[in-house]
């Protein structure tokens, strides 16, 4: 019998304590970020889709189309082509297509690049109803940027 009342009282008390907690939070400031109106700066290591790093002097991509990223990609979403040009050491990249629909952002392409020609972009506002919008031509993107 005493257990009955004990449980009744402690139970009722626990309910009021719960109300107190949620009541307190009711008056506290909100913690959410109003996303489309406000934006967060991505952390330096944030992994967006990859992008080519330009050569600081020429603005051309540093990439020499060695194909290591293509080889190291688990999902096979990179396609690189390059050609030999006169007066330039190594090859010149002519085509760099990233199929972002299958990319898993593991970072093995960036890791395997010996020439420091790849990095993660900070782009995250990527949304489209069309698949084709996620097949990026990174050389185009680089040109647009500069």
């Amino acid at each position: 019998m005493s257990g009955y009342f004990k449980e009744l009282i402690s139970g009722t008390k626990s309910l009021f304590i719960g109300l107190g907690i949620t009541g307190k939070y009711f008056f506290e400031p909100v913690v959410t970020l109003q996303y489309p109106h406000e934006h967060l700066e991505m952390t330096p290591r944030y992994r967006g889709h990859i992008e080519l790093i330009p050569n600081e002097e020429t603005g051309e991509p540093k990439c020499i189309a060695c194909g290591m990223c293509q080889k190291g990609c688990p999902s096979g979403c990179i396609e690189v082509k390059g050609e030999k040009r006169e007066g330039v050491k190594g090859k010149v990249v002519t085509k760099y297509i990233l199929n972002f629909t299958t990319c898993s952002l593991c970072g093995q392409c960036v890791e395997s690049c010996k020439f420091g020609a790849l990095r993660f972009s900070k782009e995250y506002n990527l949304a489209s109803p069309r698949k084709e919008d996620f097949i990026f031509d990174l050389i185009e993107k680089l040109k647009e940027k500069s």
């Binding site: 139970g11 626990s14 719960g18 952390t43 290591r45 944030y46 593991c106 093995q108």
Partner: protein, 373 residues
């Protein structure tokens, strides 16, 4: 379903399809229930709705190329899976890991474990009909995700560990942030305690509900918090020490009752233990390299089979590798903890009421992609 209702009500029992789209299954799990009124006569989980055959993928790509897959099985504690896989390959290929890298692994894995438990906590209370704790838990979890994002670059499906080390070193900002998080979280836990754990409604819903006996846990091979809630003192981190866990001092919370409340308490206590681990690991964090001195180029383990288990957030995650000496696996078996944990569901729910069975399901902490792999 509609057409059969008339026939079904004339019988003693009727069948109810719980899922594959149901608010309490957290994903595409279907449970075929034979019900007598609201009592469950028979429950049979039906799996495979998001089966992706990761094991076959493992046989078709090099060891390194399988790394991103690890984060896509148990997406809530992806780093544990990362850890299990790289540790197994390291064991097979005899790759030395620098101490600093091991410490970083432990710190990030434990952070990941806390975030997984927090999400479970919220989702579990949501299963029981309480909405608000989920959002509070998410608030805390965001903090961890921000921390992990600052070091791994992603928020959920991490691909951070590499054979012999980790991808990035941690910096002072991360260390400071982690310490701040622990301070904040320690203050936060009493709130959860008062709002949820001590709530009479929650206690009534979990106490003595869904008992899993020691013997049942053993017969079904349940591990992790499910086993520990049944009085089994089994944690791979202590039982089969790997990485730098032997150097860290922490306890394994074990509850004898075996009911949903016990499993709940185990996880809540584990959050505190994980914070202890992180604190010590941060204190002991040695200077040095995060990758082996000699870069790991081509991983080619010797012929033979190897096993390595780690304690993921949901139990013992084991990787069995069969290597034929090539640069890809001959066979890659991934032993997922919730697969075994869920297999006891049919036996445990016999004669239970539907809401209790859902409380039990929530307390098993299911992550469906991990079950289906």
């Amino acid at each position: 379903m509609n057409g059969t209702l008339q026939q079904d009500v004339n019988q003693e029992t009727f069948t109810l399809n719980l899922g594959p789209q149901h608010p309490a299954t957290h994903g595409v799990l279907r449970v075929k229930l034979v019900m007598d009124g609201e009592y469950i006569v028979e429950a049979e989980p039906v799996l495979g709705y998001i089966h992706r055959m990761h094991e076959k993928m493992g046989e078709n790509r090099t060891w390194a190329k399988f790394l991103p897959n690890c984060g896509r099985m148990d997406y809530l504690s992806a780093l544990s899976y990362n850890h299990g896989y790289v540790a197994a390959v390291e064991r097979a290929a005899k790759i030395e890991v620098p101490e600093r890298a091991e410490y970083i692994r432990v710190i990030t894995v434990e952070l990941n474990r806390i975030s997984s438990h927090l999400l479970w906590f919220g989702a579990f209370v949501l299963d029981l009909g309480g909405f608000t704790p989920l959002l509070y838990a998410f608030d805390d979890r965001e903090f961890i995700l921000d921390l992990l994002e600052s070091v791994t670059g992603s928020r959920l499906t991490y691909c951070y560990f590499r054979f012999g080390g980790v991808y990035n070193d941690i910096d002072d900002a991360f260390i400071a942030g982690t310490r701040e998080f622990i301070k904040k979280q320690r203050k936060r836990m009493p709130m959860y305690d008062a709002l949820v754990t001590k709530n009479i409604i929650l206690i009534k819903r979990l106490k003595e509900i869904g008992p899993i006996s020691k013997d049942m846990a053993r017969r079904y091979g349940a591990t992790g918090p499910v086993a520990r809630g049944s009085g089994i003192n089994y944690d791979v981190r202590k039982h089969e020490p790997y990485s730098v866990y032997p150097e860290l001092d922490f306890d394994i919370p074990v509850y004898e009752e075996g009911d949903s409340m016990a499993r709940y308490m185990v996880r809540m206590d584990e959050i505190e233990q994980s914070m202890r681990i992180i604190e010590q690991a941060l204190d002991k964090l040695p200077e040095g390299e995060i990758k082996p001195k000699k870069a790991v180029k081509m991983v080619k383990p010797e012929k033979g089979d190897y096993y390595h288990a780690v304690e993921a957030a949901r139990g013992s995650f084991g990787v069995r590798l069969v290597s034929d000496g090539k640069n890809q696996a001959y066979r890659l078996k991934l032993r997922s903890p919730t697969y075994s944990n869920l297999s006891l569901y049919g036996e445990a729910t016999k004669g239970m009421l539907l809401p209790d069975a859902l409380a039990l399901m929530g307390s098993l902490d299911l992550v469906i992609p991990e079950i289906d792999r």
